[in-house]
C-alpha cells in the first residue's frame, strides 16, 4: 500500500517465516525417518510401546533439557545440570534412607535446593558479569563435590513410596507409561505455556535476541536472567527426583555428561545456541531423537553403544552448521538493505545501563 511495502520485503518475508521452522521441521523429519528405518529393519519396532519407552527411558532427560531450553533461549548456558541431577539423587536418597525423612518432604527439599542453587548461579552471572559458562562450571564442580561429601558410594533406596513410583505403570489402550513420563509431560506443558504466553517467557526470548535492546525496551532483564537459571536448577532437581525413581539410588556418578545430552537435545530440537530462537516442543523432539538413536543401536545388537555419542556429535555438527548457514543468509539479506553500521557484528551485549 505505502511506499515501504514495495521495498522487496514480501519476497523475503514468506521465505523467512518458513525458515523459522526449518530446524524444528528438520528434527521432526529426522525423527520420523529414524523411526521409519527402525520399523523397517527391526521386528516389533513399530509399536506404540516402543515409542512410549522412549519417554519412559528419557523422562528425566526431557525435564532437564526443558530447563536447559530456557537457559539457551536467553543466550546463556548451564553446565551444572548433570551435577545438580546427581546431587539431587544423592540428597533425596540420603534424606529418605539415612535420615528417615518422609519422602514427600525430602522431594520438596531437593526441589527447593536445586532452585536455590540455580538462583545463586544466576545472581553471580548477572551481578558480577561473569560468563555463564564459567559460573555454571564452578557450579558443576561444587554440586559433584557435594555429592561425595554425603557419600562416596551409591545409596540404594528401599523406601516404599519411591519403589512404588518406580514400578507403577499408568495403563491405557494396552500400553503403559511410568508416572515420571506424566510428570515430564506436565513440565513440558507448563514450559510451553510459560514460554509462549507469559511475560517471563517472552522476555527470555527478547533477552536471547538482543539483551541490550531488551534493557532499553524497559524489560526486567536482571530478574529474568536470574529466573532462567533458577528454572534450570529446579528442572535439574526434578530430573534428579525422576532419575531416583528410575534408578532407585542416589549416586555421585549418576548423570555424568548429562549436560551434554541436554544441550544436544535442545540444539537438535532447533534452538540456536546463541539464544533467542527455538521451541520447547523442539526440545521434546530432540530428546526423542536421542532416544531413538539409542533404541536403534540396542535393536541392532551388533552396533555398540558408543555409536550413540558419535551420531549425536554428527547431528550436533549438522544442526550447528545448518543454523550458521541460515544465520548467514538472514544477515546477508539484511545487509543488502542497510549500511555498514548494521551489518557489522554488534558490540557484545554488555551492560550499558545500570540496573
Amino acid at each position: 500500500m505505502t511506499a515501504l511495502t514495495t521495498l522487496g520485503d514480501q519476497v523475503t518475508r514468506g521465505a523467512g517465516r518458513l525458515r523459522r521452522y526449518v530446524p524444528v521441521l528438520a528434527t521432526l523429519a529426522l525423527f520420523l525417518l529414524m523411526f521409519g528405518i527402525g520399523s523397517y529393519r527391526y521386528e516389533g519396532f513399530l509399536h506404540g510401546q516402543v515409542f512410549l519407552n522412549l519417554l519412559i527411558d528419557n523422562g528425566f532427560l526431557l525435564v532437564v533439557a526443558i530447563g536447559m531450553t530456557f537457559v539457551l533461549l536467553s543466550g546463556g548456558i548451564d553446565l551444572s545440570v548433570g551435577a545438580v541431577v546427581a546431587l539431587s539423587t544423592m540428597i533425596g536418597a540420603s534424606l529418605v534412607e539415612q535420615q528417615n525423612w518422609p519422602p514427600l518432604l525430602a522431594i520438596l527439599v531437593v526441589l527447593t535446593l536445586g532452585t536455590v542453587f540455580g538462583l545463586g548461579m544466576g545472581c553471580i552471572i548477572h551481578y558480577f558479569e561473569i560468563q555463564p559458562f564459567i559460573v555454571t562450571l564452578a557450579g558443576m564442580f561444587l554440586a559433584r563435590g557435594l555429592c561425595y561429601t554425603i557419600s562416596i558410594d551409591s545409596i540404594s533406596i528401599t523406601d516404599p513410596v519411591f519403589t512404588r513410583m518406580a514400578q507403577a505403570r499408568v495403563r491405557f489402550a494396552g500400553l503403559f507409561v511410568s508416572p515420571s513420563v506424566l510428570i515430564a509431560l506436565v513440565v513440558l506443558a507448563v514450559a510451553f505455556v510459560v514460554l509462549h504466553y507469559s511475560r517471563l517467557g517472552r522476555t527470555v526470548y527478547a533477552i536471547g535476541g538482543n539483551e541490550q535492546s531488551a534493557l532499553l525496551m524497559g524489560l526486567p532483564v536482571a530478574k529474568t536472567k536470574i529466573t532462567v537459571y533458577a528454572i534450570s536448577g529446579f528442572c535439574s532437581a526434578l530430573g534428579g527426583v525422576l532419575l531416583t525413581f528410575y534408578m532407585l539410588s542416589g549416586y555421585g556418578q549418576h548423570a555424568l555428561g548429562m549436560e551434554l545430552d541436554a544441550i544436544a537435545a535442545v540444539v537438535i530440537g532447533g534452538a540456536l545456541l546463541t539464544g533467542g530462537s527455538g521451541y520447547v516442543l523442539g526440545t521434546l523432539l530432540g530428546v526423542l531423537v536421542l532416544g531413538v538413536i539409542q533404541t536403534i543401536i540396542s535393536f541392532e545388537g551388533t552396533l555398540s553403544s558408543w555409536w550413540t555419542r558419535i551420531v549425536i556429535g554428527i547431528l550436533l555438527f549438522v544442526f550447528i552448521v545448518l543454523q550458521r548457514v541460515i544465520g548467514v543468509r538472514e544477515r546477508s539479506a539484511l545487509s543488502r538493505l542497510s549500511t555498514r553500521s548494521v551489518t557489522e557484528k554488534p558490540a557484545p551485549p554488555r551492560q550499558e545501563v545500570r540496573t
Partner: protein, 507 residues
C-alpha cells in the same frame, strides 16, 4: 517564547573521568514541534539524551517535565513518565514478531497469559494509524532496517508519549524511506507530540525541524528557529572557530598546491563505491601531497577512507596504487602496497589496550612480516626509541601499557605504528580529535613534515581550519558523496568550504 515548554533542562552538567561531557547545558522542548539537536562528534548530543532518559545520572542541573522536576533511574521510568526514545541502532529484538516488538513488556493479558490475538489486532491498528501495512506476525528481522526503525517508532508512540526522542533514526535509511519517516513524524507533531530529533543530515534538519539547538564540545551554542538560521551559519556554529593560533603553520600550503598535485600519483581511485556507505567517487593522492577531507560527521569521510585501506570491500570501481591496479581484499593487501590507515576510533579500532606502547608501535610492521620473522628485541627498541623521541611521546617508557597514556600520546603511538611501516600513503582519520592543544599542534606539524619528505597523506578532520591549513587539495563530503574537490589556493577559505558542505556545490 510565551508557549509553555513541555520539557526543560536547566544547567545540566555531566562529568566523565577526564572529560566534561556536558557543561551547563540548557534545553527545552515545546509541544507540537520537531526540535533538531545538532552537533559534531563529541558535542554531547548522545550524553544529553542519555541524561534525559535516565541512562546516566546528572552531576548538576534540573530536568522538569510539564513544570514538575523529574529524575529518572532508567529508560523504563522515563517511558512511564511519557518520554519515549528510538535509538540510532534499532533497539528491538530481531527474533520476535513485529507485533510482539511493539507490545512486549506491556502486552494485553488475561489471567497472566498474553492475548496474542489482541496483541496482533492492536499492532495492526497502530501501524495502520501510521499508514503502514505490515504483516505483524512476521519476524522483525524479515523486514528492512527502515521498516524496523518505523516499528520502533510505533512501539514508542503506543504509550502516547508527550516527548518522542529520535536519536539519528535516519542514518541508515535511503531517501524514500526517510520520506516515509518524515510523514509519520509530521503526523505525530500535528497530534501534539514534542519530537526531539538528532541527525547529521542538514537537508533533513531544514525539511522537518521547527527549532534547532546546537551543542559543541559539551557546551550549548544556542537555540534557533530553523527558518531564521541559514545553513551556512548553522555549519559555522556546529564546527566553531578554532581559536588557538598555531603561529608556525600560518603559511598556507596553497602556494605549492599545484606543484604537489602534479607529482606522481600514489593512489588513484576511480568510481570507487560501496552501497549504503559511500557513493562513487574519484580521488587521487600524489607524492608529497596532503589531501584533506572535509565534511560533517556521517558525511562518508570515514567510509571513504576505509575503502581505500581495504577495511571494507568496495563493490564498485577500482584502485590503482603506484600505477598498478590493486584488488584490495583486506588491510593486509593495502599494507603490502604501502597504504596505512589510522582509524578515528582509537579505542575500538586502533589501540590494543592490553599491550605495551612498544608492542602497539611494532604491531603493524610485525603483522606484515608474519609471526615467523620476529623483529629482534634490539631492533624493536631502536625503532620505538626513535619514534618516542621524534614524536615526543610521554612518558617515554616503551613498557608502559598503552591504556595508561593520555589521548594525545595514544594518538602518537598509533601514528608511530604506521610510520615505522614506512608507508607511501598515510590515511589519518580525525587524528586530532579529543586530544590536548599541544599534542594537536605537534601532530599537525608532523603531517606537514611527512608530506615535505614525500609521503602522500589523506587527512580527515571535522575541523575546517585544520583541513585548510594542512591540505594541498580538499575533498568535500556531504551525505555520503564527494561533492567537490578544491585545489587549496588563495581563493579557498573556510567560508567556501562551508558553503560546499552546506549546499553541496562549489560556489
Amino acid at each position: 517564547m510565551a508557549e509553555p515548554a513541555i520539557l526543560t533542562m536547566t544547567g545540566i552538567s555531566k562529568q566523565f573521568p577526564g572529560v566534561k561531557a556536558l557543561d551547563n547545558v540548557d534545553f527545552r522542548l515545546l509541544p507540537g514541534e520537531v526540535h533538531a539537536l545538532l552537533g559534531e562528534n563529541g558535542a554531547g548530543k548522545s550524553t544529553l539524551i542519555k541524561v534525559l532518559t535516565g541512562v546516566y545520572s546528572i552531576d548538576e542541573g534540573t530536568i522538569a517535565l510539564e513544570g514538575a522536576p523529574v529524575r529518572f533511574s532508567g529508560p523504563s521510568q522515563a517511558q512511564q513518565a511519557g518520554i519515549s526514545t528510538v535509538f540510532q541502532e534499532v533497539n528491538l529484538c530481531p527474533n520476535l514478531s513485529v507485533a510482539e516488538n511493539i507490545f512486549i513488556g506491556r502486552e494485553p493479558r488475561r489471567f497472566g497469559a498474553v492475548r496474542w490475538q489482541e496483541v496482533r489486532r492492536r499492532a495492526a491498528e497502530l501501524l495502520h494509524r501510521l499508514q503502514l501495512d505490515l504483516d505483524v506476525t512476521a519476524r522483525l528481522s524479515d523486514y528492512s532496517i527502515a521498516v524496523q526503525q518505523l516499528v520502533a517508532i510505533a512501539r514508542a508512540i503506543d504509550i502516547s508519549p508527550k516527548v518522542l526522542i529520535l536519536d539519528e533514526p535516519t542514518s541508515s535509511l535511503d531517501s524514500s524511506e526517510v520520506d516515509e519517516l518524515f510523514r509519520v513524524m509530521k503526523q505525530l507533531r500535528d497530534e501534539g507530540t514534542a519530537i526531539l530529533f538528532v541527525t547529521h543530515f542538514l537537508d533533513q534538519v531544514y525539511e522537518i525541524s521547527d527549532r534547532i539547538t546546537v551543542l559543541r564540545n559539551g557546551g550549548l551554542v544556542g537555540e534557533f528557529l530553523t527558518r531564521d538560521l541559514p545553513q551556512l551559519e548553522l555549519v559555522a556554529k556546529m564546527i566553531g572557530k578554532e581559536l588557538e593560533v598555531l603561529e608556525e603553520l600560518e603559511e598556507q600550503p596553497g602556494r605549492e598546491a599545484a606543484a604537489r598535485a602534479h607529482a606522481e600519483p600514489v593512489l588513484e581511485a576511480s568510481g570507487l563505491a560501496r552501497t549504503g556507505a559511500v557513493a562513487p567517487f574519484d580521488l587521487s593522492v600524489h607524492r608529497g601531497e596532503v589531501v584533506g577531507l572535509a565534511g560533517l560527521l556521517g558525511s562518508g569521510r570515514t567510509e571513504l577512507a576505509r575503502l581505500l585501506f581495504g577495511a571494507d570491500r568496495a563493490d564498485h570501481g577500482q584502485i590503482r596504487i603506484g600505477g598498478r591496479p590493486v584488488a584490495l581484499r583486506g588491510p593486509g593487501v593495502a599494507m603490502a602496497n604501502g597504504v596505512a590507515f589510522c582509524s578515528e576510533d582509537r579505542r575500538a579500532e586502533g589501540l590494543i589496550e592490553d599491550l605495551t606502547v612498544r608492542e602497539n608501535i611494532v604491531l603493524a610492521l610485525q603483522a606484515s612480516r608474519g609471526w615467523t620473522r620476529p623483529l629482534s628485541r634490539r631492533r624493536q627498541d631502536e625503532l620505538v626509541e626513535a619514534y618516542l623521541r621524534s614524536l615526543r611521546i610521554t612518558p617515554a617508557n616503551p613498557e608502559l601499557l598503552v591504556r595508561d597514556l593520555s589521548g594525545g600520546n595514544q594518538q602518537k603511538v598509533l601514528l608511530a605504528r604506521w610510520l615505522i611501516t614506512n608507508p607511501r600513503l598515510l590515511i589519518v582519520d580525525e587524528p586530532t580529535r579529543g586530544i590536548d592543544v599541544g599534542a594537536k599542534a605537534e601532530i599537525q606539524r608532523l603531517v606537514v613534515s611527512l608530506a615535505d619528505d614525500g609521503m602522500a597523506l589523506l587527512f580527515i578532520s571535522a575541523e575546517l581550519e585544520e583541513v585548510l591549513r594542512l591540505s594541498h587539495t580538499i575533498g568535500v563530503m556531504r551525505d555520503r558523496r564527494m561533492v567537490a574537490t578544491l585545489a587549496n589556493d588563495d581563493d579557498v577559505d573556510t567560508e567556501r568550504v562551508m558553503r560546499a558542505i552546506a549546499e553541496g556545490a562549489v560556489a
